[in-house]
């Protein structure tokens, strides 16, 4: 993973990414109308920390129909097993309840991230 310099998330920053849990995953992610990105992450993972501000920025620039959700892997291990998550961060893209793509440990730059999360929906 190519980690570029950034100071990581700020405690005062607005969290634009909602958390999906095993009880809300179906409703929030699988039954969603538009494209959904689920970030399987862990707060202790330094790669997730590096990606966090970029993901927040992406959430800000994405269209309202597109949504990013966070899945906390240490808490939601059943979801991580179901979606075969080997490491964090892993972004899984869903459309109409189906997985249409995934990217593991994306480079934490906005341009790379936007390409990674939008490309699967354009096929």
């Amino acid at each position: 993973m190519n980690i570029q310099t950034n100071s990581g998330p700020s405690p005062r920053s607005i969290d634009r990414i909602r958390t999906a849990t095993s009880s809300t995953f179906e409703e929030q992610v699988l039954n969603a109308e538009g494209p959904v990105v689920a970030e399987f992450m862990s707060h202790g993972c330094s790669h997730c920390r590096a990606l966090e501000p970029v993901l927040q920025q992406a959430a800000k620039t994405m269209r309202p129909a597109e949504t990013i959700f966070r899945v906390n892997v240490p808490v939601e291990q059943e979801l991580a097993t179901r979606y075969d998550i080997d490491g964090t961060p892993t972004l899984v893209m869903f459309l109409g309840g189906q997985e249409v793509g995934r990217v593991e440990g994306p480079s934490p730059t906005l341009s790379t991230l936007l390409v990674a999360v939008t490309q699967p929906f354009e096929r």
Partner: protein
């Protein structure tokens, strides 16, 4: 959300990453050093966990990402010490390391050279600690790399 217990209100809380081998060892060492019968030093060693809201209940300005990034010592008066300053405070409170902590307070023309050295040492250790084993990302320690590559190659060749 779990409210602070009476003990948590009276003793400093040392937050540590339970998935990091180095952090785990350090927390165990602090607990052992503080456990002498004559010692007045009391710490609560607490894994950071996965619930941002629960952490904020300990201190409103405590951010879970920051807690995982650097060592945090939550003081009973509501203040927080981080990084090298947190290490120094821990050393100051442990009976067997108070002599070392005194050296950290030595002030030469407005500079605390030994504290600066500790701050730098902590930064370096903080950066290299994943190499000694950290399960946070689900990735194995660097030194296990060749074994993991060998396993991956073997399973790939088996699948082909």
């Amino acid at each position: 959300m779990t409210p602070k217990t009476e003990a948590e209100r009276a003793s400093p809380i040392l937050l540590f990453n339970d998935e990091c081998g180095v952090c785990h060892l350090v927390a165990k060492w602090v607990a052992k050093m503080a456990a002498t019968p004559s010692s007045a030093a009391k710490f609560i060693e607490r894994p950071i966990g996965d619930d941002p809201a629960e952490l904020r209940s300990l201190n409103e300005s405590l951010d879970i990402w920051d807690a995982y990034e650097t060592i945090h010592l939550l003081m009973p008066d509501g203040s927080m010490k981080t990084g090298g300053e947190a290490c120094a405070e821990v050393l100051r409170r442990l009976p067997r390391t108070q002599w070392l902590a005194r050296s950290l307070s030595i002030d030469i023309w407005g500079l605390r050279p030994f504290q600066e050295l500790l701050n730098f040492g902590y930064l370096v250790l903080s950066d290299v600690r994943p190499a000694f084993g950290c399960e946070s990302c689900g990735t194995p320690p660097v030194w296990l790399g060749p074994i993991v590559w060998a396993r991956t190659l073997k399973s790939n060749s088996g699948a082909a």
